[in-house]
Symmetry: C2
Subunit: 384 residues, 2 copies
């Protein structure tokens, strides 16, 4: 793997955070201050944590901006400094689908998250307390605009490619709509140009589960006493929407598990044990308020707002090469949404293509079905 | 509509209950006492509330036993005594698909429910307190066996037909498996011979939402202070699994609603307002412990246990005419489950047929898509 290049002149590191415990403090870039948000409000002294892989070409024309899903940090791939596996470990590296021999890959921890970037879990310089629910309403457009400012802070004006899975696909699309001249190609994976009412319903109930936990305390929970019950429920609901019924049928069937204690109505089936295991991990790994803000940002996003309708929005992207990848078993962002987006882009004259994959893993397939996704990513990004 | 016949010699009426407020106390039949349950434990002095439509023929050979879904009461159709619309109002009556000119229709409030039948919300004669979580583990087989005993108390040994939608289809199937000689035809609607891991996951998270509400108090909440927050969350999750994404797309799209107050992260979209409205109604209308018991009963049910595998279970039903009705957009009990059941029944030699409907309303279609369901029910039950 190529040595890392740190083009930013002064190396800044994020403050310690409970969500980065045991990890090296990530590098950060400052955002313009104040940083004004789309729905009102502004942030002073905000910053983004980031990681990079590969080397920036002298012409600074080989950057690939990678957006994350809702919960990952900027650590998309292992590095000398942090050898733990990244969230897209196999996808990035020399000779890999996102080829670091060619691209200088930049991944930010998104604005509003809690892994070194400014978000609801960060200290509000105006009060000295965590922002919590005083953080301004966050939108996908803000996340994309912060990433654009982050690239500029690294000396990069244009991206050769912008790639994002899931919520990151929305951010990638919002990047392209706001800065159409700042990229050449766009790859949207298991994402959508807006949430369907089904997705909004799932997200809304997840947020309600967190807010209904008395430990949420209207958002003012102590950092070391988060609303774990609400977060566990929210995560379990998410897992239902991230996977597919047919995958679980094959994996779990109706297998029983060792009963966990004597609790009435406790875990009895393997699928319950699986949910419990993953959800419990999550409750400690992500800030509840950050979760609420990012979840709502997804629901608020609608690419149609950039022009008045989807067709008008697509007109802004008519010069781009766009790959839209979807999965037949995805119930959160189903294939008909990706089809609608590609149709609009093609009508607008963009060089847009739809790739529909047969993975059984549903929405999460991009994280686990390397076999199907790797060639698709390699082919699109490998074009001259 | 025909006059009601009350063949039970002494008219018994259920005790007053907060869940029957404003309604006439339903008639009840006593269950054999003690009534032993499949997973251990027994009930003393248990009873079932019921309603009937049509007249029992002198030969007592025209009874149609109708099981309910998880939450309805026995009031499937309006009557002189209770003119409020029943949960299958349009389906039942003289000349209707379930024709009361031909059938004597009997619907019980299922064992474990809270509308006049014995369940976790009933008083335990041993302690004088509500059973709550001291109620024995309830299974679908118990529900079916209680209904069989209820029929006997009404002087009926055999049913001309047994019909059940959703959870009621499981109970109808459990009735047929336990008492194969006590029916001629069987109609299972939007149901399954067992829950998939997806359905178990949904149900499990719903139960966890109720149990996580501090107001649940380990099941010992005061009758007038139920865990409404947990019940509201559980109901909303249920609604996601009962309907289809495509229906909501057409109904709600991304329409915004008037914001409900200033609460951060409160209701913003029409689909959220719809969920809130329906879920809030439900929190007052159903007992939380009854909900937990009935939900778990569904997950525990597996027709394969009646013989060792589905094929062996189907052998018990080889003499029956069976209609299995499913809906393409049902994600809770999807069509592939109904297909598997029909295939097993046909292999066993039963006269079984699958009817796959194109309703857009998902699992709940049997309650709302009268246009598609009425002819299917009329055709099967109308055969000589």
């Amino acid at each position: 793997m190529s040595a890392q290049t740190i083009p930013f002149p002064v190396e800044r590191r994020s403050r310690p955070s409970r969500f980065l415990e045991g990890l090296p403090a990530p590098r950060t870039v400052p955002l313009p201050s104040p940083f004004r948000l789309r729905h009102g409000g502004q942030l002073e002294g905000a910053e983004l944590a980031y990681e990079t892989w590969g080397e920036l070409a002298p012409a600074k024309d080989n950057a690939l901006l990678l957006f994350t899903g809702l919960s990952p940090r900027a650590h998309a791939r292992s590095s000398a400094e942090d050898p733990s596996p990244g969230w897209w470990e196999e996808m990035i590296g020399p000779g890999h689908p996102i080829d670091t021999d060619r691209f200088f890959v930049v991944c930010f921890n998104q604005l509003g998250s809690c892994f070194g970037s400014t978000g609801p879990a960060s200290q509000d310089p105006a009060t000295g307390r965590r922002y919590a629910v005083d953080f301004p309403v966050l939108t996908i457009e803000d996340i994309a605009r912060a990433a654009k400012a982050g690239l500029q802070a690294l000396g990069i004006e244009r991206a050769a490619a912008v790639v994002g899975p899931s919520m990151g696909g929305m951010a990638a699309l919002a990047f392209a709509l706001q800065f159409p001249a700042a990229l050449d190609r766009l790859m949207l994976i298991s994402s959508a140009h807006r949430c369907s009412p089904f997705a909004i319903a799932v997200h809304s109930i997840q947020r309600e589960a967190v807010r209904s936990d008395p430990a949420w305390h209207g958002g003012r929970y102590p950092a070391d006493h988060p609303p774990v019950t609400g977060m566990r429920l929210a995560r379990k609901m998410g897992m239902i929407s991230y996977r597919s019924a047919s995958e679980w049928q094959g994996r779990f069937g109706r297998e029983r598990t060792e009963r966990w204690g004597d609790e009435p109505f406790g875990v009895e089936f393997e699928v319950e044990s699986y949910l419990e295991h993953h959800a419990t991990k999550f409750t400690q790994a992500f800030d509840a308020n950050c979760y609420l803000y990012l979840s709502r940002a997804m629901d608020l996003f609608d690419a149609s707002e950039h022009g008045g309708c989807l067709a008008a929005a697509a007109q802004k992207l008519s010069h781009l090469a766009v790959s839209v990848v979807g999965v037949h078993t995805d119930i959160l962002f189903p294939l008909n949404q990706q089809q609608a987006l590609v149709a609009a882009l093609q009508d607008a004259g963009a060089q847009a293509e739809l790739v529909a994959l047969d993975s059984i893993q549903g929405h999460d397939a991009f994280l686990v079905d390397k076999e199907r996704f790797a060639p698709v990513v390699a082919e699109f990004l490998g074009r001259p």
